[in-house]
């Protein structure tokens, strides 16, 4: 997994609460394998109308925001379906950091597994950040310091410390678990004896 320390790039503001993962990637694109790439499906029905014409009022369609790597949302980003394809679509489109006042739990977990920073800022700061990014079109993210800067504003963000460490080091979860292989095996044996009823009766 790619390491994340600092990032300076084009930023885009999405002034919406409850952007669910059905909006991030509509279900009809869930058949696409990761190898094919899911970037084109990102926000498909928000970005384009039914005839495939870009919607002019959708912030990502502003030519000045092309190649954006930082997305500023609002309350409750990434709620709903557990589809990791929502994170694949963001990452494949070039995003490395999403900022919001809260995230869907599963989305936040999926993010860290793909090197995407899900940064939480306060309700007051998100409004400042949205306005700043709308003006400047850029932001800088410092994961170590847990700050996001845009124009004259520097706002702090929170992220689970364990997730932060994984992102900074680019650690894959499976590699971490591999260290505990013996403990898992021992647990399985002991648990089987302790809870025989828990084994499905096939």
């Amino acid at each position: 997994m790619e390491k994340f320390t600092q990032l300076a790039g084009t930023a885009v503001a999405l002034r919406r609460d409850n952007v669910d993962t059905d909006q991030v990637i509509p279900a009809r694109f869930l058949k696409i394998s990761r190898a094919e790439g899911l970037g084109d499906a990102l926000f498909r029905d928000l970005r384009f109308d039914q005839n495939g014409k870009p919607r002019p009022d959708f912030p990502m369609n502003d030519p000045a925001r092309k190649g954006a790597s930082i997305l500023i949302g609002r309350r409750n980003f990434g709620v709903g379906s557990s589809r990791e394809a929502a994170v694949y679509a963001l990452v494949d489109h070039g995003f490395r950091c999403v900022v919001a006042t809260s995230f869907g739990d599963i989305f936040a977990g999926n993010s860290v597994n793909n090197g995407l920073v899900a940064a939480i800022v306060s309700e007051e700061d998100i409004e400042k950040l949205l306005s700043a990014v709308e003006q400047t079109g850029r932001a800088e993210v410092d994961l170590e310091a847990q700050t996001i800067k845009s124009g004259n504003y520097v706002v702090p963000f929170t992220i689970d410390p364990a997730r932060k460490t994984r992102l900074i080091n680019g650690w894959d979860e499976l590699d971490l678990t591999a260290q505990h292989k013996d403990k898992i095996a021992a647990f399985a044996v002991k648990d089987r004896a302790a809870r025989p009823w828990a084994v499905p009766r096939v």
Partner: protein
């Protein structure tokens, strides 16, 4: 004196293999349910050239992409490929599959409990956000992403930060015609779609105890729509009676021993929760959603809200956006909203009691709009046919379909056409959820039946007079 524990704590502790310095716990998984959408997880296993660690604890079900409205014929080869890929992956790794032609096939969150695979005291995961459904039997059931699916396939474990504990207590008596769906949506309306974020929720109180096991499954199914990591109900005699005799459940002396363990699972009387919310069941009305989030829930006798009354300009704009998408006007009476079709099905409301509730309203009446009824499992479908419910639906003018996720998510091709309005027993009224441009109103099976008969959103209660 030992510290009083919650139901959640009592299940978490014996599943914790270790707790790392970073605060994350490595948990043992008792059941891993996979479906066609889990292919990304299998792809990662392939990429590492490894095998599934515990095929005996992994159960596959074909539900998301299976045809449901026109027999079992695939109209699109790309959908068929999703099912054949699941067959290939489960074959290769020796995982039991309840596939398209299996009499046990159905929606994973209906089939798990129905087959006795889901039991109290277990930790259950599935690459689907509605996994909390299984918590209705007193289990910790958590929806996970594709990377975590591959992690569980390879290790039978997953990492979790222990969530905070929240208790939602619903006391009092539910009125006639009001059920688990109304309770669940009312809770979401009260606390919001992120109201339970970071929490494991236990639903408690007299009104919850009074729910049938199937009602509790509906309730826990919607836990994710309030942002909860999981939802659960303490197991009791209702639960034990439901489990007894199911195919994969413990039998004989094993069952009795299991019940002894399960009886100790309910939260201790003095157990503390990080957050408490309570609702009065007698104040819960039949509800419907008007907008594009499950928190946009109102009693059926209310009117569409007016963005002009909202102070925050961004919120007002967002509300106006939802009304534009839904094709509604501010202050319009909810009962004046005409519907184009109805859907009865999904992991939320497709069990036999749901079908009976809808049929009780539809019996002897005609639907003014077309609609699809998709039983939650093939077992439910056959039972409904034995009870003659299929006849009630078809005589009312609705289509009696096959079992699967169907029109809830529409990825099997059963879509609500653009701009059409659907009264639906499902779980999400998100934009485009039932198809691009589709407009979804969530409600209970009885309320969907009422909408079908009248052609608009309607209060089911007067229609129940003289019926059971």
């Amino acid at each position: 004196m030992t510290q009083p524990l919650t139901l959640f704590d009592k299940i978490w502790a014996p599943h914790e293999i270790l707790k790392a310095d970073n605060g994350l716990s490595l948990l043992w998984v008792d059941r891993h349910y996979v479906h066609e959408g889990s292919f990304q997880g299998f792809d990662k296993v392939e990429a590492r050239n490894e095998k599934v660690a515990r095929p005996d604890l992994t159960f596959a079900i074909a539900d998301h992409y299976v045809p449901t409205s026109h027999g079992r014929v695939f109209n699109d080869p790309s959908l068929k490929k999703m099912v054949t890929t699941l067959v290939a992956n489960t074959d290769k790794h020796g995982v039991m599959l309840m596939g398209l032609d299996d009499p046990r096939q159905g929606i994973v969150h209906v089939v798990g409990p129905e087959q006795g695979l889901t039991l109290p005291g277990l930790v259950i995961v599935c690459g689907d956000s509605h996994t909390a459904t299984h918590g209705a039997l007193g289990a910790i059931a958590i929806g996970i992403g594709a990377s975590e699916v591959s992690h569980v396939l390879l290790t039978q474990t997953f990492w979790q930060k222990k969530p905070n504990r929240m208790r939602v207590t619903v006391d009092g008596r539910l009125g006639p015609g009001i059920g688990a769906k109304d309770i669940a949506l009312s809770i979401i309306a009260r606390i919001g779609t992120n109201g339970a974020q970071g929490h494991g929720v236990e639903y408690a109180g007299g009104a919850i105890r009074g729910l049938t096991q199937e009602g509790r499954l509906t309730l826990c199914n919607l836990a994710i729509e309030s942002g909860a990591r999981t939802g659960m109900v303490a197991p009791d005699e209702t639960t034990f009676a439901y489990i007894k005799g199911r195919p994969f459940a413990p039998k004989g002396a094993d069952f009795d021993r299991a019940v002894e363990v399960w009886q100790n699972l309910p939260s201790d009387p003095d157990a503390e929760f990080d957050r408490e919310v309570s609702l009065d069941a007698s104040a819960i009305a039949p509800v419907v959603t008007w907008g594009t989030s499950p928190e946009d829930t109102l009693p059926i006798d209310a009117a569409v809200p007016d963005p002009a009354t909202v102070d925050d300009p961004d919120k007002a704009k967002q509300m106006q956006g939802a009304l534009d998408y839904m094709g509604l006007s501010p202050r319009q009476k909810l009962t004046d909203i005409r519907v184009d079709r109805v859907f009865i099905g999904s992991c939320t409301n497709s069990r036999i009691e749901d079908l009976r509730a809808a049929a009780a309203v539809l019996a002897g009446r005609k639907a003014k709009v077309p609609g699809l009824v998709s039983a939650g499992s093939t077992v439910v479908k056959h039972q409904a046919e034995q009870e003659g419910l299929d006849k009630i639906f078809t005589e009312a003018g609705l289509t009696w379909g096959e079992s699967g996720c169907s029109m809830c998510i529409g990825i099997n091709g059963d879509l609500v056409p653009p701009g059409e309005r659907c009264a639906s027993t499902t779980n999400r009224n998100f934009r485009g959820r039932q198809g691009p441009g589709a407009r979804t109103h969530l409600m209970s099976p009885a309320m969907v039946a009422a909408a079908a008969i009248t052609g608009h959103l309607a209060d089911v209660r007067p229609m129940l007079t003289g019926r059971s």
